[in-house]
Symmetry: C2
Subunit: 394 residues, 2 copies
């Protein structure tokens, strides 16, 4: 493993330790540390206790020189934050605004909020390495453009990186909100877990799949798009997508609310997740039963996910997850009944612990994953101090 | 990316090219090439046309010094092969023997066949870097031990690497046959494809999942274990696993054969895939219909796989796939009807092209993936020429 990638865990190490781990010559390790210090990506830590002879300096990833920004754009909110190279949030600004106001208005607020955060911080624009953005709809990750996002009029194929890039000359990474929530939840609640599926249950239903320690986006970036998988119950229920019996048409917040409305339950007016959660918290039995049944429907789909990917952790988040254990209980009921024993031996199916913060942390991690990747750091080192004079050939 | 990992594609490159790609100093590149040549992992190629000045030497991964071995143990056959560092098979031995003869007899033949191949080749035992083994049952990849393999009496928790290691002092990697078939099929038929699911339909049904270019094994190594996912048709059909309505109980070779037998079709005596394939090839309409229905059942499970992982290619292999396009047609019918358009936009659902060779090539690749990994090559370089004298500290 590369020297800098080893240091990304935040643990300080001496030159000798780094030479032993990487197998690189002491002189190579020293040169590489020099180059990374020049870029202010790592810094020296207090002297380590020496095992004899002169004291050995330790080096660790720098928490105080370079930063990234995370942007969490939801259906009705925007958050912008600065974060350290280890993913700690340094400060943030938030605004209540609906995403259907269009990209210029939303991203205009984002860029001025980000500038304000920078101006009020100890950092300058040149310390910023990258910006990660989460959007509440499908995104073509390679280009950073939303693709036919249902609740985002005006955003289709909008060049988000290009627009933000006019104000900040750094790489801009854009992904859908569920993927960044998976990254954020793993970082905060399940560090070290390499197999995690984050399921967001809200107005829609989607998942972020981390396997082998890496967020899996698939061939077109649609990996995790589980909302339109067919479930056995309610084969006749029509879905917005044109099919029938989709998971989203049965187990999303509005779907549950519609069932409760049909049953004559009082308190459903705008068919939202919030109304369902409110009824569950009041102890309304019909609402509790409906949420539990939604959990079973989600469990039916998760059973296949468990067989296919053998995750260690499945996290259920999104607004409906705030209804508490009922949805988790329904999901567990089906997954444990239908899966092979070895696959569920040490499987955790749990509620999101980070809640609304998963997305903003995940957006910062999206930026970090790019900025601190092996190839990007190599590029930065090369641009900072070219070592191959163009006249040398052969 | 590391210099050696760049050369693994087989393309020759000059020192300058490697310096430019990696961003490393010319002196570092030269030292690293020296170390890799010492290990005979790379070698010089004929002089490249110079752009002026002295001729520039090119270097490429060595096809003629170091080797790996692949071992494909099936239900009723064993194959052992030697392969180059780019995965080309150099020679092989094959024996018809059933896996229920137990590990000592099977692996005894494997080790003597491997020694015979080495003796008859231009290579010595010290040229062998690693051995990859595929087994027809679940394997705990970390330890290389089979876990409750249904058709392998005597193999449960058997220490395969330890046993082979008594004869060959190299790393031994063990995985299930479907995972190695996925690796082999990708290498031979779909190089460069990073999202591929290989489905083996034979006596059992299982899948190997490659996502992000990496074989995904999951938390307990059970990823791809899709044979016991519930399908809507035939909810009352009992499965060996104790559940009902599992994919394997409806769409495996023996399951199809049992249906044909019940329907009074002549030619089914031992309820095998081979009998079903034979009937299909004779044009038996009931057999063709049964195989197509099995394809639909498989398609039902694949629809969820497509939503979750967004593969670019789904390959259907195994003995039942030899029945031709009928099973593929059934799978396509369901997947294209039920999936979201973006996920199937450029999805290929195809028959295996490598046939029986996928497993032996994949077993060799399993060995290569370990032997040529960044950390293993670093270890080899370090052990070959220690550069940090133990007296140097600090």
């Amino acid at each position: 493993m590369d020297l800098f990638q080893i240091l990304r865990d935040g643990r300080p190490r001496t030159r000798s330790e780094l030479a032993a781990i990487t197998g690189l010559a002491r002189s190579t390790v020293a040169a590489r540390i020099e180059a990374l210090m020049d870029l202010q990506l790592i810094g020296p830590i207090e002297d380590a206790v020496s095992t004899g002879g002169r004291p050995s300096s330790q080096f660790a990833i720098s928490g105080s020189h370079r930063i990234v920004a995370g942007v969490d754009i939801g259906a009705s909110h925007v958050r912008v934050a600065l974060a350290t190279l280890t993913g700690s949030i340094l400060g943030e600004l938030k605004k209540t605004i609906t995403v259907d106001r269009g990209p210029e208005e939303l991203l205009g607020w984002v860029t001025s909020a980000l500038q304000q955060l920078l101006d009020e911080s100890d950092y300058s624009n040149s310390d910023l390495l990258a910006i990660g953005v989460g959007l509440p709809g499908p995104v073509e990750y390679r280009t950073g453009r939303p693709i036919n996002p249902p609740i985002m009029p005006g955003w289709d194929k909008f060049d988000v990186p290009g627009w933000i890039g006019k104000s900040f000359d750094v790489p801009v990474l854009v992904d859908n909100d569920v993927n960044i929530m998976a990254l954020g939840e793993r970082h905060v609640a399940w560090p070290g877990v390499d197999q995690l599926i984050f399921v967001k249950v809200a107005t829609g239903i989607g998942a972020g799949v981390i396997s082998g320690g890496v967020l899996q986006r698939g061939a077109q970036g649609t990996a995790g798009d589980i909302g339109h998988i067919n479930v056995s119950r309610g084969a006749e229920v029509p879905c917005q997508c044109g099919n029938r019996g989709c998971l989203e048409a049965l187990a999303s917040g509005p779907a549950i609310a519609r069932v409760l409305e049909t049953e004559g339950v009082e308190g459903i007016e705008s068919q939202t997740s919030a109304e369902v959660v409110g009824l569950v918290k009041q102890g309304n039995l019909q609402a509790i039963q409906a949420v539990r049944q939604a959990g079973r429907d989600i469990g039916e789909v998760l059973t296949t996910c468990v067989s296919l990917m053998n995750p260690q952790v499945i996290v259920i988040g999104g607004s409906i997850a705030q209804a508490g254990e009922h949805i988790i209980a329904g999901a567990r009921e089906v997954v444990y009944a239908r899966s092979m024993p070895l696959a569920t031996e040490s499987l955790h199916i749990v509620q999101s612990r980070t809640g609304a913060d998963a997305a903003i942390v995940g957006a910062a991690l999206l930026a970090l994953d790019h900025a601190l990747s092996f190839s990007n750091v190599e590029r930065m080192i090369l641009e900072n101090a070219p070592r191959v004079p163009s006249t040398v050939r052969g």
